[in-house]
C-alpha cells in the first residue's frame, strides 16, 4: 500500500514557556525548540506498521521552510521511505484551506492509496485533513484510533465521546486523521537520524506543483488571525503562584475549604 503522511513542524510546547511577541500577533519563538507534531508522529508509526504488514511504502510530506526538513528526516529515520518538502515563499500565510490546496497538488503528483494526517496540530484547528479529503473527493474518517487492512477497504475505529468506540468500513483511497494512542511510536535515536542525514529530500514549489498563486498564501487566505493574547484573569479565577510545592499546598487548602476534599 502506498501511504502519504502529512506532517508539521511545531514548537515543542511541553516545557517551553510560551509568551506573546511584541507585535502581539504570534508567540515569541526565539527560545523555542521544535519537533514533529505529536499526532503526526503516531500517523507515521501507523503507516510504517501497515507497510510492514502488507508491503508498500510510506512517504512523509510537509509544507514549510527549509528548517522543516529536519522533521522529515526524523520520520524517515523512524522508517518512512521517502520525504517530500513543499516549500515556496508563495505558501507563506496560507490558511487551512491553502495548506490543503498545496497538499492536494502534492497528492496529485503521486499515487497514494491512503493519506494520513494527525488529528490536529499546534494550533488546534484540526481542519486540513477534512478539507483535503473534500477537495480530493475522498472518503474521510477523523480521530481514528484503530486501522485494520482489508481488500480495497479498511476497517477503522473511532473514539466517540464518553469512551465509546465505533468501527467503520471505509473504501480506499481515503484520508484518515489519526488520534494519539493508536500505537506506541518507536524511538528515533541520534544514530537513526545520522543514518538518513545525507539522504536527498526532494523539494517542490508552487511551480512544480502547478499551483496558481491566487489559490494559496496570505492573499488567498480567507481566515486571518487578527489578535493573539493571554486572556485577562476573569472574575472568580485566580492564578496560583509560587513553587510547585506551594501551589499544591494552596490547591489542597482551596479544595478542603470548598468541601471538595475531606
Amino acid at each position: 500500500m502506498e501511504i502519504l503522511v502529512c506532517v508539521k513542524r511545531v514548537p515543542d510546547t511541553s516545557e517551553n514557556e510560551i509568551t506573546i511577541n511584541k507585535g502581539g500577533n504570534d508567540i515569541e519563538r526565539d527560545d523555542l525548540v521544535y519537533s514533529v507534531n505529536e499526532w503526526d508522529n503516531y500517523a507515521v508509526e501507523e503507516a510504517i506498521q501497515i507497510v510492514d504488514k502488507v508491503g508498500g511504502s510510506v512517504t512523509v510530506v510537509t509544507v514549510g521552510d527549509s528548517e522543516s526538513e529536519e522533521i522529515l528526516r526524523r520520520e524517515m529515520a523512524m522508517g518512512a521511505n521517502n520525504g517530500l518538502l513543499l516549500t515556496d515563499d508563495a505558501f507563506e500565510g496560507s490558511d487551512g484551506k491553502g495548506i490543503a490546496t498545496i497538499l492536494k497538488a502534492a497528492v496529485g503528483k503521486g499515487k497514494y492509496d491512503l493519506i494520513l494526517t494527525g488529528a490536529q496540530a499546534d494550533e488546534g484547528a484540526a481542519q486540513v485533513g477534512g478539507m483535503l479529503a473534500a477537495m480530493m473527493d475522498y472518503p474521510y474518517a477523523s480521530l481514528v484510533n484503530r486501522i485494520e487492512v482489508g481488500d480495497g477497504k479498511l476497517k477503522v475505529g473511532r473514539e466517540i465521546e464518553g469512551g465509546n468506540q465505533e468501527m467503520n468500513e471505509i473504501e480506499l483511497p481515503c484520508v484518515l486523521s489519526i488520534q494519539t494512542g493508536i500505537n506506541e511510536p518507536r524511538y528515533v535515536g541520534i544514530r537513526g537520524i545520522r543514518k538518513v542525514a545525507s539522504v536527498e529530500i526532494p523539494a517542490m514549489g508552487a511551480g512544480d506543483l502547478g499551483l496558481d498563486a491566487g489559490s494559496i498564501g496570505a492573499g488567498a487566505a480567507k481566515v486571518k488571525r487578527v489578535d493573539y493574547f493571554v486572556p485577562d484573569t476573569g472574575e472568580g479565577a485566580e492564578m496560583l503562584t509560587g513553587s510547585t510545592e506551594e501551589i499544591i499546598a494552596k490547591l489542597i487548602e482551596y479544595l478542603k475549604s470548598k468541601g471538595g476534599l475531606k
Binding site: D12, E15, N16, R186, G189
Partner: protein, 689 residues
C-alpha cells in the same frame, strides 16, 4: 614381600580378566569425551563478539588469588559460604589424590612426584581429613537444599523447573567420590592389620579410619573385592563427574577460575559498543548492542556457563526485591539454557532469533537500575550491567523504547536536560542564594574549580536547595568556583546506561569542550551520577571530586568549621544511605560518613545493608521517568530499613536518592517520623560562620 591385597593394576576379574584394561579404558574414554564436550561448549565463545580481557595480568592474578582461591566473597553468606569453602578446598586437595589413583590403576606403585617423603606423609594425613570434611559438608548441603530449601534457590513458575534435583544428584556424586576413595584405602589397611603387617597410618576420625574399624573383621577375600570395587566406583564416578560438569550449573567447577581471571577490573564504566571501535567510528557500525545471541561477547557467554545458580545476585537485587520482572540470576540461566539448546553437543548449531521477546522481555531489561549489587555479590565474577546496557543499546537501535522514556530522551537531545526546560534557566537556582557569590563561566568569569551541578539539581525545585547548600559549603571552604550555567548539559550517566550511546557521545563532547574552555583545574559535584560519568566515562578532564571529599578535606585543613547539633536536632538519629554511584561504583564509603561525623555530637547508626551492600533507592536519571511493573517502591523498603536501624533521619549524598527517599517516606506513611536530607544540606546547616 607379597602384597596384602592385589592392586587394581594387577587384579584379574573372575581369575582371568585383567582389570588394568578398565584402568586404561576409563581415562581414555573419559578424557576423550570431556575434550569433545569442551570443544562443543567453546564453539559459541569463538563465534561471539570480541571482549578485551587479556590486559593487566597482575591485577587479574590478584583477583584469582583473592576471589577464586581465597573464596573472598563466600562468607558474605556464612552458612553456604563455609560449606562451599570446605568443598572447594577439599576438591583442590583431593584432585592430587584422584589423579594419583587413576595412574595407580595402571602403574601399581605410582606415587605423585613430590609425595614420596615427608611432604607425602603430611599430604596423606590431611587429604583424609579433607575427604571427611567434604563428605560432611555434602551431607549438610543435601539436608539444606532438600529439606530446608532456602528461598534463594526458588524458581518462580515463569522461569521453568528448579535445579534442586540436579544439585542433590551432584552432591551425591561428590559423596560417592569421598566414600569410594576412603573405602579403597580402608579395605587395604584392614587387610594389613589382619595379616599382621605394618599397617598404613590412617588419621583418626576420618572416613577411611572409620571404615577400616568397621571392616577389620571381614575376610581377606571380601576386603579384596571391596578394594577393587571401591577403586573402580571411584574411577568411573571421577570421569563421569568430569563429563557431567559442562552439562549444567556445575560447569563453574571448570570455568570459575577463568571467569574470575577475566572479570571486569574497572568500576563505574560501561563497556564500549564494540571493542576496537573508537567513539569517532561508531557511526560506521551496522548495528548497535546485543540483539541476538552472537552479539554477546565471549565473556558474556563464559558468564552464562559459570553461573552456579546460587541466587546471591537476585537475593541482593533491589528490582527483584520489589518484584519487578528482573532477577539477574535468570539473565545468566536463560543465557546458558539458550547456549546449550542452540549450540548442542551433537548436531547443527541453530537459531539466531532476536533475544528480546524470545529469551528476555523488554520490561526485564528496562527494570535494572544498574545499582551493581548483583556484581558486587557474585562470588565468581559474573557481570550484568554490561549485558543489560548492551541489550538496551539493541532496543534503542530498533526504536523499542518505552513511551515514558522517549520524551525525556528527546528533551535531552534538544535541551540537554530530561525535563525540556530552557537552557538559560540552568543557573536560576543561584538567584535565591544569599551570602555566596557563584561565578558564571558563561559570563566570562574565571575560577579554579567548576561546580558541575547537573540537570536535576539545576532544575528541580527541591534539589535546588542541594545546589545552594553545596555552593554555601564551597564558599565557606574558600573554594574559588563557578558554574557553566546554560552551557552545561546533562552528564548523561543514565543516557549511556539506557543504551542511547550516540546521545551520550553528544553530551560528553559538548560538556568536555565547555569544561576545557572554562580553564578550571578541578571539578566538584554533589551528584554521584555526574561524578561517575565525569570521572569514569569522560576523558582528559581535570580531577573530579564529590562534595563529601571537599568537606572532609576542608574540615581536616581547618578551612571549614562545623558547629554541633542544635537542641532541636539532639533527639535525632542519623543513618547514611550509600548511593550506588558513590559507593559500589566508586568506592566512596568513608568520606560521606566522616563528613557527617565531623558535626560534633551527631548520632549516627548503620543500616544492616550498607556500604557495598547498600540497597538501591529506586534509581536515578532516566529511571525516574520509567514506569516499572512492581509491587512496591524500592525506596519504601529502604526507608523501612532505616527505621529498623533506629534512625529517624536518612542522610544521602545524591539528589536522586533524595527524591526517592522523600517520596518513599510519604508512601510509607512515615511523614513526621522520618525525614531525608542531603549531606550538603546537613553540612551547610552546620557551618560555623
Amino acid at each position: 614381600m607379597e602384597p596384602v591385597l592385589i592392586s587394581p593394576a594387577m587384579f584379574k576379574l573372575f581369575g582371568f580378566f585383567p582389570t588394568i584394561i578398565f584402568s586404561m579404558l576409563l581415562p581414555v574414554a573419559g578424557v576423550g569425551l570431556f575434550t569433545y564436550i569442551m570443544a562443543r561448549r567453546i564453539a559459541p565463545l569463538v563465534k561471539a563478539n570480541p571482549d578485551s580481557r587479556f590486559d593487566r595480568p597482575k591485577e587479574r592474578i590478584v583477583n584469582v588469588l583473592k576471589i577464586w582461591l581465597g573464596q573472598y566473597r563466600h562468607p558474605r553468606y556464612m552458612m553456604a559460604g563455609v560449606l562451599h569453602i570446605t568443598i572447594f578446598f577439599g576438591f583442590l586437595i583431593l584432585s592430587v589424590r584422584s589423579t594419583e589413583l587413576v595412574i595407580k590403576g595402571i602403574s601399581e606403585g605410582f606415587i605423585m612426584p613430590g609425595l614420596g617423603g615427608i611432604l607425602g606423609d603430611i599430604y596423606y594425613f590431611f587429604k583424609d581429613y579433607a575427604a571427611t570434611a567434604v563428605f560432611f559438608a555434602v551431607v549438610i548441603a543435601v539436608v539444606r537444599r532438600g529439606i530446608f530449601r532456602p528461598a534463594r534457590y526458588d524458581y518462580p513458575a515463569s522461569y521453568g523447573h528448579d535445579h534442586t534435583n540436579e544439585a542433590i544428584f551432584v552432591l551425591a556424586v561428590i559423596g560417592t567420590l569421598m566414600v569410594s576413595e576412603s573405602l579403597y584405602e580402608a579395605a587395604l589397611v584392614a587387610a594389613e592389620i589382619q595379616k599382621g603387617h605394618a599397617a598404613t597410618f590412617l588419621a583418626p576420625g576420618t572416613l577411611a579410619w572409620f571404615f577400616k574399624n568397621i571392616l577389620l573383621d571381614n575376610s581377606i577375600s571380601s576386603l579384596q573385592n571391596m578394594h577393587i570395587a571401591a577403586y573402580y566406583v571411584h574411577d568411573l564416578t571421577f570421569f563421569f563427574f568430569l563429563c557431567f560438569l559442562p552439562m549444567g550449573k556445575h560447569f563453574h567447577v571448570i570455568t570459575s577460575l577463568f571467569n574470575v581471571y577475566f572479570m571486569r577490573l574497572e568500576r563505574g564504566n560501561v563497556r564500549p559498543v564494540r571493542y576496537g571501535v573508537s567513539d569517532e567510528q561508531l557511526d560506521n557500525l551496522e548495528s548497535f548492542g546485543v540483539k541476538k545471541f552472537s552479539d554477546f561477547t565471549w565473556k558474556d557467554i563464559l558468564d552464562f556457563y559459570t553461573c552456579a545458580d546460587c541466587g546471591r545476585c537476585s537475593d541482593q537485587c533491589p528490582a527483584n526485591a520489589v518484584k519487578r520482572p528482573l532477577s539477574p540470576r535468570f539473565i545468566s540461566i536463560k543465557g546458558r539454557d539458550y547456549a546449550f539448546s542452540h549450540f548442542p553437543l551433537m548436531g547443527e548449531f541453530v537459531g539466531q532469533e532476536p533475544l528480546i521477546g524470545d529469551v528476555y522481555s523488554d520490561a526485564e531489561i528496562w527494570s535494572c537500575t544498574t545499582c551493581g549489587a548483583c556484581e558486587q555479590e557474585c562470588p565468581i565474577g559474573i557481570e550484568y550491567i554490561n549485558k543489560i546496557v548492551d541489550m538496551r543499546r539493541g532496543m534503542v537501535d530498533d526504536g523499542n523504547v518505552p513511551q515514558s522514556l522517549q520524551k525525556p530522551m528527546s528533551s535531552l537531545e534538544k535541551r540537554g536536560n530530561p525535563y525540556g526546560k530552557m537552557e538559560k534557566k540552568r543557573s536560576e537556582w543561584t538567584k535565591d542564594l544569599e551570602g555566596c557569590d557563584v561565578k558564571l563561566f558563561e559570563n566570562g568569569d574565571a575560577a579554579d574549580t567548576l561546580y558541575f551541578v547537573d540537570s536535576i539539581t539545576s532544575f528541580d525545585d527541591r534539589m535546588q536547595l542541594v545546589a545552594r547548600a553545596t555552593a554555601k559549603i564551597l564558599c565557606a571552604a574558600g573554594v574559588d568556583f563557578g558554574i557553566l550555567g546554560k552551557d552545561e548539559k546533562d552528564s548523561g550517566n543514565e543516557v549511556k546506561r539506557f543504551g542511547e550511546e550516540m546521545l551520550f557521545q553528544d553530551l560528553k563532547s559538548h560538556n568536555t569542550e565547555v569544561i576545557k574552555e572554562s580553564g578550571v583545574k578541578k571539578i566538584v559535584t554533589s551528584d554521584p551520577h555526574a561524578y561517575n560519568a565525569l570521572k569514569n566515562e569522560y576523558k582528559d578532564l581535570p580531577p573530579v571530586e564529590h562534595i563529601s571529599q571537599v568537606v572532609v578535606n576542608a574540615v581536616a585543613a581547618g578551612k571549614l568549621r562545623l558547629k554541633g547539633v542544635t537542641d532541636e536536632e539532639a533527639g535525632r538519629v542519623y543513618t547514611y544511605h550509600d548511593p550506588c554511584y558513590l559507593g559500589r561504583h566508586n568506592c566512596l564509603y568513608e568520606e560521606p560518613r566522616s563528613a557527617i561525623d565531623a558535626i560534633p555530637g551527631i548520632r549516627r547508626v548503620e543500616m544492616l545493608k550498607s556500604r557495598d551492600r547498600s540497597f538501591c533507592c529506586g534509581g536515578g536519571g532516566l529511571m525516574l521517568f520509567y514506569e516499572p511493573e512492581e509491587e512496591q517502591r524500592m525506596g519504601v523498603l529502604r526507608v523501612k530499613m532505616a527505621q529498623k536501624a533506629g534512625a529517624n533521619v536518612i542522610v544521602t549524598a545524591c539528589p536522586f536518592c533524595l527524591v526517592n527517599m522523600e517520596d518513599a517516606i510519604k508512601v510509607a506513611g512515615l511523614e513526621g517520623k522520618m525525614q531525608a536530607i542531603d549531606l550538603s544540606e546537613l553540612i551547610s546547616e552546620h557551618i560555623e560562620q
